[in-house]
Amino acid sequence: MIRARPDQRIVFAPRSHQAFDRGVNAIALAVRPTLGPVTRLVAVERGIRTISPELLDDGASIARRITSLGDPAIDSGAMYLRGLLWRVHEDAGDATATAAAIFTAALAEGRRAVAAGIPAQPLRAAIEREAESVVAAIAAQATPVAGEAMLRAMATATSNDPELAFPIGEALDVVGAYGQIDLRKGSPHGSTLEFVAGSFWESMLLSTPVFTDLVRQRTEIANPRILLTNLDLESPSDLIPVLETARADDEAGGLLVVCTAISPAVAGFLHANSDTERWPILVARTPAIDQAGALADLALLTGATPLLKEAGMSLATWHPSLLGSARTAWSTRTQMGIVSGGGDPAAIRSHVEALRGRCDPRSLDSGAIALRERLGRLYGMSATIRIGGATDAALTHRMAVAERTIRVLRGALQRNAEAGGVVPGGGVALLRAWEASAPHLDDGGDIETAARRVIRQALTAPAGAILENAGYPVPSTLARLRAAPPGSVFDVTRGCVVDALAAGIVDPAHVVTAATRRALHAAALALTIDVLLHSGDGTISVSPEGRA
């Protein structure tokens, strides 16, 4: 006997399957226009009709804006796919529409198999086994990423915005997978790129601002000596030995003090001893974000030994050897930087290698972001892209697209990754992965054969959707592709078969493998859901195995 609270509703198969699939299809259709180079946007109303809608072209964000389709049973399928797309976004940063196409095709073919008598649980296991073979076949097609042209092509493929792809490709070619790229709003006329030499931190200027470069509001010191501490400097007399040592050094062109705070007396003392033209003294606040990491990196770059409050150190224990150096130090009101620090190059190199070993350039985790920022500073060159946009909506959209594109390309550039590099784009890597295992379609029993048919439908779906979106006939175009040499893709913008690498129609391998693996596993699991349970308040439980 089945019992349920009066405010709960239980939906059994086959109605549960129909409702679930309707929800899945609704989300899949919403993100489908964004697949391929001939994409269209989805405009999302912001709740206030007098402001312009949000323009989206990534499946995860579009799906995330959909919170209900009205019927809780239909919602179950929609939210299941929505969750999958967000996971793909977190994992890979892109290819969410590809994942949706794979998922829906696999689910539909799986439903047919189950309807024909194949048991769902063994089918799930078989699909999951096949999925791993497919992922390996995709990874085997990967080619290492090399050169600005390929990066620009990848950026174009990811962003569908050639004007934006140009500076992104160039910036990543210079700063690499771990480098620092700042995105800022620029002029409406277009995007610009500039590179900043050296390392810099967000850091308030504590000394009296007297700028040597009045236009840029910036003071520069040639060959500075550098004092690092997280102490508050309160007594001018404590600083006298520091100042005397730095002044006695004939090669020193000024002094940079990095500390947490200074008293008015210290500010006055340093101002009185500073000569902006000939021997400037700058006092910058110790970077507030990840202070320990920033001090450690500054120390390594400059060769200074920081005076740390936590270690019980003070200026009374100060020694001349604690001072660091650089070829140049600079400061604005909000930033402080150094160029060509006097630290031990071998130590910096091994420190960077150690940090890289701990850093995932694709991760959105706050710890990973902080680590990436440290690596970006240590790299010694950063890029700033000023993004243009004709309207606020266009600008916001392009900023989001640029962020996503950079993240995807960082992943492709990462060395020693599980599946670094690029594979042929346009869904062709999936087609080729299928072809690698196609000869074995009817090997094994009914369950294995059914699983392979599911995989075949799933891996064909993204290429089909891209061709459909661009207005090409799917069966005949796929036939042309199959007859083409390995590494060929169909260029939907020109209507011909071309070499993927030469034409720059490529996708990051890690993105394709992540989307494929997650979509196939999620579809396999979804096939085992028979019962939907939802309560009156709209919350839903999805039971994978759950017959009452």
């Binding site: 600005e148 690499g176 590179f195 040639a222 060959n223 070829r327 060509s340 190059p345 010694g380 060159m381």
Partner: protein, 186 residues
């Protein structure tokens, strides 16, 4: 041409790729003077003799273009900048490097379709790069953790340039715009 100076020791010597025909070579002597020969080394004269005020300018490095026959490009490192000749060392002009008087330790000219790529290694400031024939220079030190550059080389086979430093060798695959540790030089 004056007679060959006697008693000088060559610190660095470079020859024209067309030496059998033009006999052109440059020497940086131990006292950092730049000398030029037009007769295959039989005689030498100061290269800057025609440059007002530059006759005694110390030269820290010298490089000639692999396409010297076509472009006549010769580079000479001087304190804080690079001297450039586009007529095989007859006339010279000078361009400063950015920063605080960088000292050039080595120079490299890499032929390219869009014109030669010029690189200058320095004692403390890393590698400066010029893509406009030496008019302007900028430092590109991303990934180069050691800024004491002792030698620059090109590896045409692999399409890379390398920078030697006391702590190891770095390579660049994008014409000196970024660097990474070179496995063979670690």
């Amino acid at each position: 041409m004056t007679a060959a100076p006697t008693g000088f020791t060559a610190h660095e010597i470079v020859w024209s790729p067309d030496r059998p025909r033009d006999g052109t070579g440059f020497v940086v002597s131990e006292d950092r003077s730049l000398l030029v020969s037009r007769d295959g080394g039989a005689s030498w004269e100061p290269a800057f003799h025609a440059v007002p005020g530059a006759k005694s300018l110390p030269v820290t490095a010298i490089a000639i273009s692999p396409g010297l026959v076509q472009d006549g490009l010769v580079l000479a490192g001087i304190p804080g900048g690079v001297g450039r000749s586009r007529d095989r060392g007859m006339r010279w002009d000078f361009a400063p490097l950015p920063g605080h008087l960088p000292l050039v330790t080595c120079l490299l000219v890499v032929a390219g379709e869009a014109g030669p790529l010029l690189l200058a290694g320095t004692l403390e400031d890393g590698v400066a790069r010029s893509v406009d024939g030496g008019e302007t220079w900028a430092f590109w030190n991303g990934g180069l953790f050691d800024h004491q550059v002792t030698a620059l080389n090109r590896d045409d086979e692999r399409g890379i340039v390398t920078a030697e430093t006391p702590s190891g060798v770095y390579a660049s695959t994008n014409g000196g715009r970024s660097w990474h540790p070179h496995p063979e030089g670690s």
